[in-house]
Amino acid sequence: MRKTFTGRAILPANLAGKALVSRRGFNAYASFFNSLHDDAKSAECADSGNTDLFGRNMTDKIICLPKTSGSTSAGAVWQRVAGLGVAPKAMLFAHSIDSLAAGGLIVADIWTHHRICTVDQLGEDFLSAVKDGDWLEVREDGTVTIISPQ
């Protein structure tokens, strides 16, 4: 089954990868709290309040979420996880991007030259349709295609 959604490409890229879905607000600071040290090899979600993602490896995944939440410290977290090579491959927002995620992801892109592909405004239907483990194709024009596992 293939289903395509169109959003707004904020930090565009052409890529594909596995979906990891947070049905609730993604608290970036809490989620990456244990993955900011120099020897981090991967980013396991440390946010015990997020039952969808707690303990799951977020590195190289495509995180599908409504928006981000939580501490504004998250602003610097994005450039750090991107620089350490443990960041998700892409962030796909169902809603309009929030100020915290927007600032952090844009700063990571401009100041540390590590792009985490970012698309927003994909809609509630996108979040309803996408499931953990789905293969996703993201295009730089902001289209996202869900390819469910066979």
Binding site: P12, N34, T72, S73, G75, Q79, L100, G103, G104
Partner: protein, 435 residues
């Protein structure tokens, strides 16, 4: 495709366009590019002038949480500085003697903050107000970063942004670390979201149906989890709080707002008959399609029971307690002094069973310590005082799973500390036993 600067929807003045094209050098050009793309992402019509001092979230040099030193050096070397002097969140936890940290934790903290001296220098170069301007409660009278109503700001620290918007009636979006400094260097912030009248309308009516004044940190967590990033219009708190915004009311709203911002992404709340916009406009602030959320004791108990206990040994005897996330006000320091004193008296004890730290702004602690008899009494009971941020101690990962208590739902959210409401916590501190 948003990163194409040729097709921007945001309207820029000639001066802003000149900066974007490098009129003040390549570093300022990069700063401006970040601010413009930030505005474009937030669908701002234009940039607005920042009208007051900033308050920023990251005072520590710990890698991963702090802006990289290289980035700050690039800004400072280009001679850039914020338009107004700013205040910062609490100092790094170097006052080990006040924090009951173990030697291995102290060593890890020293290693983690090895670049702190350079970081501090850079903050001063970039516009930090003074050496005491470190707290997450900067609107305390003794600290003095108190913006007036309707002042356009670009603050970060979610706990402070929500307070500035809600209780002071100033206007700031929830800016993240790094972009906070960059916008304040340009002196402009995207005119979007909470800076606009439309963006300050409430979409939730929250009815408080408790029999007594609820715990503000639990209440805020419940509201944040329900409304997420929306704006709540809260009714019935005026049954219990003074509409004159006295210290008890502002302390309550500060704790509630901090939890709202932590458990959701709330940047503004209105409290009927209390906060300035709610006092002026009442329920006109509610969007016609608002949803309703009723909070009673059962709802708050359910939330409290849902917090998992993350101690490695669930039955361990508590070893430490950190109080003051966010930083305590002078009134709150006295509340704890009175509560601890009374509980010790009831149990005919002189000293707490658990090592306890009260955290507050340097200037607030300075004033509290002037009351020598109260300060001495608490010291004798084993209470210590720190201007640091207790959360940062956990960043060593050496406290993970240890039996540490807190009265903060924020600290609980980011660490393995166990939350207990104030009145319960006092009893535990004196007896050393948790049910």
């Amino acid at each position: 495709m948003m990163t194409n600067l040729e097709n921007l929807k945001i309207k820029l003045s000639q001066e802003e366009l000149d900066l974007l094209h490098g009129s003040q050098g390549p570093t300022m050009q990069k700063v401006m590019k970040t601010v413009v793309l930030y505005g474009e992402a937030l669908e701002a019509g234009r940039l607005a002038d920042i009208e007051g001092p900033g308050h920023f979230v990251i005072p520590w040099s710990s890698p991963g949480i702090a802006p990289p030193i290289e980035l700050l050096e690039e800004l400072a070397n280009a001679g850039l500085k914020t338009k107004f002097p700013f205040t910062l969140d609490p100092k790094p936890p170097f006052d080990f003697e006040n924090l009951y940290v173990r030697p291995e934790e102290a060593a890890a903290i020293e290693a983690m903050y090895r670049n702190q001296a350079r970081y501090d220098e850079l903050m001063i170069q970039l516009g930090l107000r003074d050496q005491d301007a470190y707290t997450c409660n900067p609107y305390q009278p003794d600290v003095g970063n108190i913006p007036e109503r309707d002042t356009i700001l670009a603050w970060s620290e979610s706990a402070c942004a929500v307070y500035a918007n809600s209780v002071l009636g100033a206007r700031t979006n929830r800016n993240g670390a790094i972009v906070d400094i960059l916008t304040n260097i340009v002196g402009k912030t995207p005119l979007a979201g909470l800076l606009t009248d439309e963006g300050r309308k409430a979409t939730w009516l929250v009815e408080i149906m408790t029999d007594n004044l609820p715990n503000p940190q639990l209440l805020g967590a419940a509201i944040g989890m329900k409304v997420f990033e929306d704006i709540p219009y809260i009714v019935n708190l005026d049954r219990y709080l003074n509409p004159e915004l006295d210290a008890e009311t502002t302390d309550f709203l500060q704790e509630m707002g901090t939890a709202c911002a932590t458990y959701g992404a709330v940047g503004l709340f209105h409290v009927e008959n209390i906060t300035p916009e709610a006092a002026d406009f009442g329920k006109d602030l509610l969007d016609p399609g608002f949803q309703t959320y009723v909070i009673d004791e059962h709802e708050l108990q359910k939330l409290l029971d849902s917090f998992p206990l993350l101690w490695t040994d669930e039955n361990a005897r508590p070893e430490r307690c950190y109080i003051g996330c966010p930083h305590l006000s002078l009134r709150q320091l006295y509340w704890w002094a009175d509560a601890i004193h009374a509980a010790l008296k009831i149990h005919t004890k002189n000293r707490l069973e658990i090592d306890t730290v009260l955290c507050a702004a340097p200037k607030v602690l300075e004033k509290f310590k002037e009351d020598e008899s109260v300060y001495f009494q608490l010291n004798e009971a084993g209470v210590k005082f720190s201007p640091a941020c207790s959360e940062t101690i956990f960043e060593t990962r050496l406290c993970t799973g240890r039996p540490i208590l807190t009265n903060s739902t924020k600290l609980r959210a980011y660490t393995t500390a166990r939350f207990l409401p104030d009145e319960v916590l006092v009893e535990v501190l004196v007896t050393g036993k948790v049910d």
